[in-house]
């Protein structure tokens, strides 16, 4: 069997005893590539994430951030390379993670019913609905049809839904892209609290201020490759890649 064929999805966990590792970290991606519609959208991603904290994933539009999250979450298989959550293939790790999509898909039912559905399906405590809604500031919208919420409110509900599954890893794809400053602050607080409580957070954002506030380390993706991965202080002081430097300076990166 070639290396390409032995993706993380078919490979057995390295140690037989490690069928379900106690922790999903560290995460390791090696040579991950993906071609969609004839375009090489991920082009050999190498990335290692240590346990704990919040990693911010940055990069210009179309760099491949959303796709990388989907691969890490096990929704898409790479054409080449491996993704491993402490020995566990990405598809086997999906249930222990939650992904808040860039464009959340909410069920055609009330706000409350959206959360209740997830709690019921995943065997969670259905008494938590009110607490979760309170947590994201939607307590007064419980009975509203979810599809009638504003864009920002929908993102907050999507976050509450993600939290309802008690994920070990929380993947967030621009969760505050259409939120007002107050809601953004609230979300940042929720995410910081989750990270402090031990949830591993991976956060995609274009907001440099937000990245500075949240990140312990920053991964910079450019044209489907990780061109810089550094502790936040080092990344913002001296970005290691010309594309990252241009991006932070607010110049158009292509």
């Amino acid at each position: 069997m070639s290396d390409v064929a032995t993706s993380a999805f078919t490979r057995r966990p390295r140690a037989e005893a490690q069928e379900a590792p106690a922790t999903l970290l560290p995460f390791r991606a090696e040579g991950v590539a993906l071609t969609l519609g004839g375009a090489r959208v991920l082009d050999g991603v190498d990335l290692t994430l240590a346990p704990g904290g919040c990693t911010v994933l940055m990069g210009p539009n179309g760099a491949g951030k959303s796709l990388l999250l989907k691969l890490m979450h096990g929704l898409t298989a790479p054409d080449a390379g491996t993704l491993s959550w402490n020995g566990l293939g990405a598809q086997a790790a999906t249930a222990r993670q939650a992904l808040v999509f860039q464009r959340p898909v909410l069920l055609r039912r009330s706000v409350k019913a959206n959360l209740d559905f997830v709690l019921k399906a995943r065997g969670g405590d259905r008494g938590r609905v009110a607490e979760l809604l309170e947590h994201v500031g939607l307590a007064d919208r419980a009975r509203t049809p979810a599809r009638r919420l504003s864009g920002g409110e929908q993102q907050r509900l999507a976050l509450a839904r993600a939290l309802a599954t008690d994920p070990e890893v929380l993947l967030l794809d621009e969760p505050t892209a259409s939120l007002d400053p107050g809601a953004t602050q609230a979300i940042e607080r929720i995410v910081a609290r989750a990270a402090a409580a031990g949830t591993r957070v991976i956060f995609v954002t274009h907001d440099v201020g937000q990245a500075r506030r949240l990140a312990e380390d920053v991964v910079f993706l450019h044209r489907g490759r990780v061109v810089d991965h550094a502790p936040a202080a080092r990344f913002f002081d001296a970005p290691g890649d010309p594309a990252a430097r241009a991006y932070l300076d607010g110049r158009l990166v292509v």
Binding site: H73, P104, V105, R108, A121, R147
Partner: protein, 233 residues
């Protein structure tokens, strides 16, 4: 003609007993058939929409082909099964409302299944990634899709009902148009027209037309409501 129409309208307006009996049986038979067809067609359509199993392509082709079943052929096949010499003859169902319900169910179940498959497949395309992220079981996915597509699926049911209630060939063959027993609107219209009792035929025609228009109005209302509740974003 004008006279017949006036008589027909007065029949409808006065709530003529014969007329009411025929209309009631029509509704009972076709609504029962619709419920049965939904019970079979919705889960089947959902399964084909969501599932990837061997033979799925064949099921799809069969479902679409059966959508266009000619009512008289369905009637004939059901007749052959229910007639005294047929394999189900011992049930003694021929020329009863049950036979008519059975025939109409067979007629519209493929329609319900095929239309539901389309509706649910579209919705599933939108929900797929989210559902996979939540690691739902096949059953949970199907249940959630059926519920979330409920407005569109009601229009599917109405389409089936519309076809059943307007159909004449199948119920004529297996029901036999027996007065006070198996006479429904369509068979009565056919019979009364050929016998020259135009007022009753016309009166039944008016009722059938109103039902058809009502079904269409209901479909329209459901569409608008579906749109307003965010069926598209």
């Amino acid at each position: 003609m004008g006279e017949a129409l006036a008589l027909a309208i007065s029949l409808v307006a006065s709530g003529d007993a014969d007329l009411a009996e025929i209309v009631a049986l029509s509704l009972r038979v076709s609504l029962s058939a619709t419920l049965l067809a939904a019970a079979i067609g919705l889960p089947l359509g959902a399964l084909v929409a969501v599932g990837r199993f061997p033979g799925r392509g064949a099921v799809l082709v069969a479902m679409n082909a059966l959508m266009g079943l000619p009512p008289v052929v369905v009637g004939l096949v059901v007749y052959l099964h229910l007639s005294r010499a047929g394999p189900l003859g011992f049930l003694g169902l021929l020329y009863t409302p049950w036979a008519m319900i059975l025939a109409q169910t067979i007629l519209i179940a493929p329609i319900v299944a095929a239309l539901a498959r389309q509706v649910i497949e579209d919705l599933h395309a939108e929900y797929r990634d989210q559902f996979r992220s939540l690691c739902l079981s096949r059953g949970q996915v199907i249940g959630a899709l059926l519920w979330d597509a409920r407005l569109s699926l009601m229009t599917v049911g109405l389409a089936g009902f519309g076809r059943a209630v307007a159909e004449v060939g199948a119920v004529m063959i297996v029901g036999g148009n027996i007065d006070h027993l198996t006479r429904v609107m369509t068979t009565a219209i056919a019979l009364e027209t050929s016998r020259g009792d135009l007022p009753l035929a016309l009166a039944l025609g008016i009722v059938l037309l109103v039902i058809a228009l009502g079904v269409n109005a209901a479909v329209q209302t459901l569409h608008t409501r579906a749109a307003r509740s965010g069926a598209h974003v």
